[in-house]
Symmetry: none
Subunit: 193 residues, 2 copies
Amino acid sequence: MGRKKIPIEKIQRSAHRQVTFSKRRTGLFKKASELCILCGAEVAIVVFSPAGKVFSFGHPSVESVVDRFLNQHDHMNHNVGLINARIREQQQEEYTEVLNQLQAEKKRGETYEQYKKTEGDNHQYCLDAPMDDLGLHELEEMKRTLEELRSKLHDEMRKSNPFLAYNHLNNQGFGMVAPFVGQSAMFWWNSNM
Amino acid sequence: MGRKKIPIEKIQRSAHRQVTFSKRRTGLFKKASELCILCGAEVAIVVFSPAGKVFSFGHPSVESVVDRFLNQHDHMNHNVGLINARIREQQQEEYTEVLNQLQAEKKRGETYEQYKKTEGDNHQYCLDAPMDDLGLHELEEMKRTLEELRSKLHDEMRKSNPFLAYNHLNNQGFGMVAPFVGQSAMFWWNSNM
DNA sequence: TCAGCTATCTATAAGCC
DNA sequence: TGGCTTATAGATAGCTG
């Protein structure tokens, strides 16, 4: 692709190889995200550069997909894996985020604008709204909203109520999205797990 | 790509979506293999179709790459976990004190008993239930439930999956009740707080 | 390193079997 | 389903600043 066709064999020049690695890795992740959006697939990608640097892409997260792959017959591990996966979603490699931002900027408008209009500018989302149809843009926006909200709450709690601030720092409770519950994302916990 | 440009959003027609999924999955794996060959990278990809069918690509193998990924995350996050544990310890004292203050503020009511009856003894709570009427007792019960859950999960994870156990010990996630959000209590978590 | 810039090359959306 | 074909959209190799 590009100015010349190159043979599919190891690129000898190190600098050249590094550039190609970056570009193609980005392209690979973009393709993966499109596959997720277009087809509703779940995808996890882990890439190690020759230098040993790691990059990953995951939807809904690397861990959830990998765990499902490794433990398809173990429901306990599956559920626990999902919990942890959701918790760690925000630790995604920069690529996922950057990619989403890029897409958000490029594709801003259309569906997203409509969606935002109906939601208004209050940046409030109903958490039990159907999630299936939300695309990356919306999810990204929602994530930002949650982060903002969390930040505000954190500050608010600290100055108004030490107990809540404590909870924030210390409680071990789990919040989890249970995507398998149905069309709605719901937050729940259960002591019998 | 192709005859027409299509928007990157979920394809509605099922048959069409299935075709696109197959084609793009093939393309994704091809891109991945080229990345491996051209740049000497290690790549693992796991894909679940909406129907739940799994496909994977790995070089040298999915397992080797995933293992490397998981181990690396363990190491990276280990220290963070230690720090957090210490923070929690330091907050313990304050928590106890403030809890007493909270007790003074909260009133108990029959609502709790009714609520508990309808829920039965399974210790399962639906988080989108109205929370406004929950008093201190209820909150404490919830807290105990969460602590039990955490403990069980911890044990379970330790014996079943060192990686997950790691996650549990170190995750920064939290569940919290946000009484001011509205009539529903919502849980969320965040790995960065 | 790092971000554009195109000329080219590849992937693929629609069709058609 | 699963291949082909073809017209286009998208990815990217080689360069440049």
